[in-house]
Symmetry: C2
Subunit: 197 residues, 2 copies
């Protein structure tokens, strides 16, 4: 019923998380019938984000600059580091307004089965960064999942010999929960009640 | 917290129907972190759909060809025409498998307040098409809304003097309902029980 280009647009919209065949069709027709300007803007911004966005050289989060806005902000406490799994977790912690230090984004967690070891998470770079910046306190905010806990444990063992004060955010985060979906108040409490490792 | 290109991507994803700030953020991070191939395909298909998709010269639905796949199909009954408001309505009727004729897509309904009159809906072209193709039966399947009913009435008055058998799909479609969201069985019944105007 649809011509090839429209079919292809519907198919390609399905790469978006949470978008099934019905909503992909609805989105495609909506863009073509009623919002070609929005579609044009979307095509252009996808293209430039794909071409230019890479990793922050310091914390590994997504950015098109050498340093992300947080790492580039010299008002932040350079001696404090919060370690998270994903860029979305940075946003979640920032929204609590309870943390004034810098981040380190693992972009995953230890998972030997998938071939994700310490190097893939940039842990050598993390250790170097701690030394270079004279980091005094590290808060580990990996997810409260089995993998997140294992990753936390590994990092704690790695950094504690360097004399760094390493803590884990408190169990205010529900067990098995993914940080990204936890409400700001709970996250603030979890930061507040962090326990020394 | 986000760099400018990522902010722009999040903003531009909000042109998609049903996508609020939270899901736009989730989509942007998902694409950049985990599915740059999908994002690339989406950018490319948006671009070519925008550049090439126009209107079918005969029925006015969306297509990149001169004729849409339905108008180009000579197995369909050329003497029967179903009039709908949008391309999504064509899909809804096709899914009933109860109609073997051609379509005419108004791309809207009469709405004097918005400056949408008979010319904007291509009604002059509709009348010409009926004559040229020797159309014998027209089924009007505009939405069961006040505007859809008014548009139906206008078209019936326009075509009946030409000796065409004009009918309206039956009130199986719930009052105030939009065709696109009606289930296939109800639509099939509505087609079946159409009343002569
Ligand atoms: Zn950074
Ligand atoms: Zn057509």
């Amino acid at each position: 019923m649809f011509s090839p280009l429209i079919k292809e647009l519907i198919e390609s919209l399905r790469c978006l998380p949470g978008v099934g065949p019905k909503s992909a069709q609805k989105m495609a027709l909506y863009l073509l019938e009623r919002d070609s300007q929005g579609a044009d803007r979307l095509a252009a911004s996808l293209r430039s984000a794909l071409d230019k966005v890479g990793r922050c050289q310091q914390c590994r989060t997504l950015t098109e600059d050498n340093l992300c806005p947080i790492c580039a902000d010299d008002q932040r406490n350079q001696q404090r580091l919060c370690i998270v799994e994903t860029p979305a977790d940075v946003i979640a912690i920032e929204s609590t307004k309870q943390f004034d230090g810098l981040y380190f984004v693992l972009l995953g967690h230890l998972s030997p089965i998938d071939g994700i070891g310490p190097e893939e998470l940039g842990l050598d770079r993390l250790e170097m960064l701690c030394k270079e910046q004279g980091v005094e306190e590290v808060i580990i905010a990996t997810n409260s999942t089995v993998e997140g806990e294992a990753t936390c444990h590994y990092i704690a063992q790695l950094l504690k010999p360097n004399g760094i004060d390493v803590s884990r955010i408190a169990q205010g985060v529900p067990m098995g929960g993914e940080l990204e979906y936890v409400d700001g108040n709970t996250l603030a409490l979890a930061l507040e009640g962090r326990k020394k490792l």
